[in-house]
């Protein structure tokens, strides 16, 4: 009790201690911005839905790359597995979207857990290459299992029953947009709480200095496996959302190109503080949407140039500033 009083007294004279931004406040912000976008651009609901789904995927990647510090080029595997799982569930079992969402999450989580048991024994370049191997193996399996994936033609023909029994998925995409936004917001809240917890602090410590954390008594492998699995759950959710809002799942959801693209989005938006993931996904998707009518090669030029610029102009300082303002390691 005395300590508490002392703390109060001391804090009036000395600088404030570091403090995390409240999780629900961040989540509320995302909800507000997303809802505002939907209401102000009702003819762009399809694009906005795509942004919300992509944002969730890049968010899951941020847990692995930005928070845990594990550079991966195989993250699309969890997304694709979630998408195919949700699609097949809707096609063969029941078209309930929320159950399908759960199925997709579980699929992504299981893949992350199983592959993580193997992958996380390695570090650096070896780990990076092995993530590529895992996702390419999943892609090959998907190509082979045409009965479940539709092969090159993709999986289609599944529908969604009304959300919560009441909200039927309409042609304008209003329900789809609302559904994906809310799922994004809820999972963003979960991710925020994860990162701001003692577990998240330990994972960030492993990112900073893996060897040193063992000297603090941290069970490093277990922590990394847990965060990798959590990311898999979120990526699987994004996959399920993608399947449900697009009514089709293609092989590109498992591709190396997708894994690379989301990494680019994450870097452009700023890795490590979760907000950058959403920002990068939004900006990149909007840019791509506007540029897609133009020659795809010009789009490549722009992205390539941006990437080089972002690396050269030392975003480290800019990121640190952004991080402090939007609530990163505080």
């Amino acid at each position: 009790m005395n300590a508490m009083n002392d703390i109060g007294a001391v804090q009036t004279i000395l600088p404030k201690a570091p403090k995390c931004v409240s999780a629900w406040r961040s989540a509320a912000m995302v909800l507000a911005i997303g809802a505002a976008a939907c209401f102000s651009m009702p003819e762009q609901l399809g694009l906005l839905t795509r942004i919300f789904v992509t944002a969730l995927l890049v968010l899951s990647l941020d847990l692995v790359v930005g928070v845990a510090g594990l550079a991966t080029l195989g993250h699309a595997a969890m997304f694709g597995v979630g998408a195919y799982a949700a699609g097949n569930f809707a096609l063969h079992v029941a078209p309930d979207p929320l159950v399908g969402l759960a199925i997709g999450m579980v699929a992504g989580g299981v893949l992350a857990l199983v592959s993580g048991l193997f992958l996380l024994r390695y570090q650096g370049f070896t780990f990076l290459m092995l993530t590529v191997a895992v996702s390419q193996i999943m892609l090959s399996l998907a190509q082979k299992a045409r009965d479940w994936t539709g092969g090159d033609d993709g999986l289609s023909g599944f529908m969604n029953s009304p959300l919560l029994g009441r909200f039927a998925f309409d042609l304008e995409g209003k329900v789809a947009a609302g559904y994906s936004l809310i799922v994004l917001v809820v999972l963003f809240y979960v991710a925020r709480r994860l990162v701001d917890s003692p577990f998240g602090l330990a994972v960030r410590g492993v990112h900073e200095n893996r060897a040193r954390m063992a000297a603090l008594g941290t069970p490093v492998f277990r922590r990394l496996l847990a965060v990798y699995t959590a990311a898999g759950l979120l990526a699987g959710a994004a996959g399920a959302l993608s399947a449900q809002t697009n009514a089709v799942v293609g092989l590109d959801s498992l591709s190396f190109a997708l894994s690379a693209e989301i990494l680019v989005m994450l870097v452009l938006g700023g890795a490590g503080n979760l907000n950058g993931a959403l920002l990068g996904a939004a900006i990149f998707t909007m840019l791509h949407h506007t540029a897609s009518s133009i020659n795809p090669y010009h789009w490549l030029f722009v992205v390539g140039f941006l990437l080089m610029a972002v690396v050269l102009i030392s975003p480290a300082k800019a990121l640190a500033l952004l991080r402090r303002r939007l609530g990163g390691v505080q």
Partner: protein, 285 residues
Amino acid sequence: MSTLFNIAIDGLAYGMVLFVVAVGMSVTLGLMRFVNLSHGAFAMVGGYCAAYLTRDAQWSFWLATPVALLVTGLLGAVLEALVLKHLYRRKELEQVLFTIGLSFVLIATTNAIAGPQVQLIKLPEFLSGSVDLGIRTLPAQRLLVIGAGLLVAAACTWTISHTRFGVWLRAAVDHSSTASTLGIPIRLVQCASFAAGAALAGLGGILGAELMPLEPYYAIKYLVLVLVVVAVGGMGSVPGTMAAAVLLGLIETASKYLASDWGSLFFFLAMACLLAWRPQGLFKR
């Protein structure tokens, strides 16, 4: 039996192409610890140069190829000296992203200059035919590729172990800080090795033009394969790169012949197993 033989020849040829393209990247990785994902672009540039010289300028293949290599090597040297050397101290992820960006820009530029269609290299007459070895006939092009790959391997190994440059190279890889204090011109070694690697990649692009068609996306399409070879073979190891390239080339070719609907599954499965068994590469330096 003849299928097995075809697999062996095609696989070996494919492996040699992978080796020639990958060896430069492996040395660069081992020497400068620099992850250069624009390496595939050099293979593309070499191939495009040769295509242009043989088709549009009507040069002989035997003249066009060395010139193409020279151009690619020069491009590599210029890029290294002006831009890439500033990134040596940066984190892995930053190098990855920058060089991916560079690849994108090179792809877009290639398309702007030459258009999106596949580029064909005009081979001399006899290379389009077959060679009768007595027991079998082989496509001449395959023989050229295999022969070139072996020559490159021999040249690299000889350079590394028998020339002063090789001594410098090894010193720079093993003890970079002390090497410079000993008077070894580190910058020269770095730039020259990078340029040589780029030129070799160009050669790989030319040799492999049949197996890996030259079009603007070439730079990243086959990047994964090269990365896999480098990772499995071990950074900075020439024998490792050769072993990995041939092994993986054979596996990929075999699976194309025997189990084509499984795609590249066995390639990546083999890669994962090999890397798991030897995370530092087949021949740890």
